[in-house]
């Protein structure tokens, strides 16, 4: 790759892929930007006209927007908390040698292969259903009043479902990190008089910090746009209790047919995601440098 010629050839060969990807990204983005400045409602065809920042003004002053923003952050934060802590603990367990390790590892990874819609439906109808659900049956058999999950704790229920889906991912990444920990380091710490807890906090956790950073970054990207789980379980309700930004935009576009407003929302979501990413990378990017 040293000569001028090979470099030029490489650029030429790469260009179709790069150009295709660039168009794939830029066309929808520009169209969304364009729509966001139009009055564009599917119920009133033919009345499209340029209205400046009016769509943005409506979207940003809508009280639903702030509720949705709060819900989005709760959803991301809650899921991250459960998956990272649960993932670390599961990885620690799975790293121990025990009989049937292979099967158990496979089972732990399995939820990742289930489609979000399917898993959400399974949770809704088989686990969390207040009459037929497994949780309700457990509660009743102990003599408690069953919880109507989606009515009483709607956002927490969504967080549980999403966390269940992402736990395998976190576990897998953290397990590989754990397996790369040098056994002699642990033995050295043992000789230095460190107990199991000290070994975990002084050696294991710092060793995994990079993997934890990766888990947080990747999951945040995907969790900001959780949609299917909300659509098939609560439809954003009761009220606005489980409406996140993604769902709000969906409601704007396909329930109220306001393409212009939804586009403005989409652009706002892109900006918000970038702000979150900026802070995340500043906050934990130091971890990756080491």
């Amino acid at each position: 790759m040293a000569t001028l010629q090979t470099r030029a050839t490489a650029r030429l060969m790469m260009s179709p892929a790069v150009i295709l990807l660039f168009l794939w990204m830029i066309v929808p983005l520009v169209m969304t930007l364009y729509f966001s400045f139009l009055r564009y409602n599917l119920l009133m065809p033919g009345t499209e006209e340029f209205i400046g920042f009016l769509n943005y003004q409506y979207f940003l002053t809508d009280p639903a927007f702030f509720t949705a923003l709060g819900n989005t952050l709760m959803l991301v934060g809650g899921t991250l908390l459960i998956t990272v802590i649960g993932g670390v603990l599961l990885a620690l367990v799975l790293d121990q040698p025990f009989w049937g390790q292979g099967i158990v590892r496979l089972l732990v990874i399995a939820p990742f292969f289930v489609m979000p819609t399917v898993s959400a439906l399974v949770w809704k109808n088989m686990l969390m259903h207040p009459v037929n659900g497994l949780f309700a049956w457990i509660a009743r058999s102990f003599g408690f009043q069953p919880i109507d999950w989606f009515a009483q704790l709607p956002l927490f229920s969504i967080i549980l479902i999403v966390a269940w889906q992402w736990l395998p991912f976190a576990t897998l990444i953290l397990l590989t990190a754990l397996q790369s920990l040098d056994g002699e380091q642990i033995e050295a710490a043992e000789m230095d008089g460190a107990g199991a807890l000290s070994r975990f906090f002084y050696l294991v956790l710092p060793h995994m910090s990079r993997a934890i950073t990766v888990v947080i970054l990747i999951q945040t990207i995907f969790l900001l746009s959780v949609f299917a789980e909300i659509l098939v379980t609560t439809n954003g309700g009761p009220g606005l209790q489980t409406t996140n930004i993604t769902y709000l935009i969906y409601a704007q576009a396909l329930l109220q047919f306001d393409v212009g407003g939804a586009s403005a929302g989409g652009i706002v979501a892109v900006i918000l995601a970038n702000i979150v990413a900026f802070f995340l990378i500043r906050l934990i990017g130091k971890n990756l440098e080491r």
Partner: protein
């Protein structure tokens, strides 16, 4: 104080006995080297003393107390690992301070001990660095620093120099010997390199297949190896081991003679042979000679002796320096 006694110590993994049974006495302040080919169980033995491996039988007594089933930290020993096993996310200071911190000592005391250790090991300027920013020799010194701050009863070294290049290995060999003279603490050192064993040890323990072949001072082992294995293992280049007719002439099954105890001459001698490869080291010359009816003999001679490939030479072993072994490989 740091005397260590092994009583009938044995180790087996499943049905394979790695160490059948070992008795050994290590006196306080001694520098003991376990040496043997790879897979002879020397590292396993060290790890058993450290408490990182369970015993399958026998007892380990440290300073008169039975420590056979005590946790590693309770035995009062510290260990330097082959990979150094430094904690990569802690600074050099943090690494050296870690055992003291785990011991619950107060900050001022820790600070003083770490600074002292760093001073002894020339690490004072590197205390803020992380292990990843240090060279191999410096990492080695940090590992030693982490071992000495605990003021252990004995140090255990598990092939500590095998990751260093040849020049550095020579230096560190001297530094560790120096340290031993300064601290006068018992040290147990595992290596497969007989040069390290010869140069550093007060007492060498030669291990083979989990058994002790011979225990003694370096010169004891060199002068009077008890069997063929020790004879072949100690000394560099290896002792020439001759079997067959020539050995039978001396009433032995195997006859051993060290390369430095064979005289070479271009005109006369007991054995006639043809020169093969010659290795010039400057101070010495190693000449590999094919002797008819005897086999390949390595000769060590002074640096000025020159020969050509295929030249006829005569060799004469010094009669007083011959080692004779019987059919079981034991010295006669």
């Amino acid at each position: 104080m740091g005397s260590i006694t092994l009583e009938k110590v044995s180790k087996s993994f499943g049905t394979t006995a790695v160490i059948p049974e070992i008795d050994l006495e290590i006196v306080d302040g001694e520098f003991v080297v376990f040496v043997g080919p790879s897979g002879c169980g020397k590292s396993t033995l060290l790890r058993m003393i450290a408490g990182l491996e369970d015993l399958s039988g026998g007892r380990i007594i440290i300073d008169g107390k039975d420590m056979s089933s005590e946790a590693p930290a309770k035995r009062g020993l510290s260990m330097v690992f082959q990979s150094y096993a430094l904690y990569p996310h802690m600074s050099v200071y943090g690494n050296i301070a870690f055992p003291l911190k785990m011991d619950g000592q107060d900050k001022a005391a820790i600070d003083k001990k770490v600074k002292d250790a760093a001073h002894i090991l020339n690490l004072t300027n590197y205390l803020d660095r992380r292990p990843g920013q240090l060279s191999g020799g410096q990492r080695q010194r940090v590992a030693i620093g982490r071992a000495i701050v605990r003021q252990p009863k004995a140090f255990l070294f598990d092939e500590p120099l095998s990751n260093l290049d040849a020049a550095l290995r020579g230096n560190m060999r001297l530094e560790i010997s120096d340290l031993h003279h300064q601290l006068k603490t018992t040290m147990i050192y595992v290596t497969h390199d007989q040069v390290e064993a010869m140069t550093m040890a007060d007492k060498i323990v030669v291990l083979n297949a989990g058994r002790i072949e011979q225990v003694g001072s370096p010169l004891d082992l060199y002068r009077s190896p008890r069997n063929v294995f020790v004879a072949g293992f100690i000394g560099s280049p290896r002792m020439n081991l001759i079997e067959g007719q020539e050995a039978a002439k001396h009433n032995a099954v195997t006859l051993g003679v060290r390369p430095e105890h064979v005289r070479i001459s271009k005109t006369e001698g007991a054995w006639k042979g043809t020169v093969g490869v010659t290795e010039h080291l400057g101070s010495d010359t190693f000449i590999h000679v094919q002797v008819d009816g005897v086999g390949k003999i390595t000769v060590r001679t002074d640096g000025d002796f020159s020969t050509d490939f295929g030249q006829q030479v005569f060799l004469t072993p010094e009669p007083a320096r011959l080692h004779r072994f019987d059919a079981n490989g034991q010295a006669i």
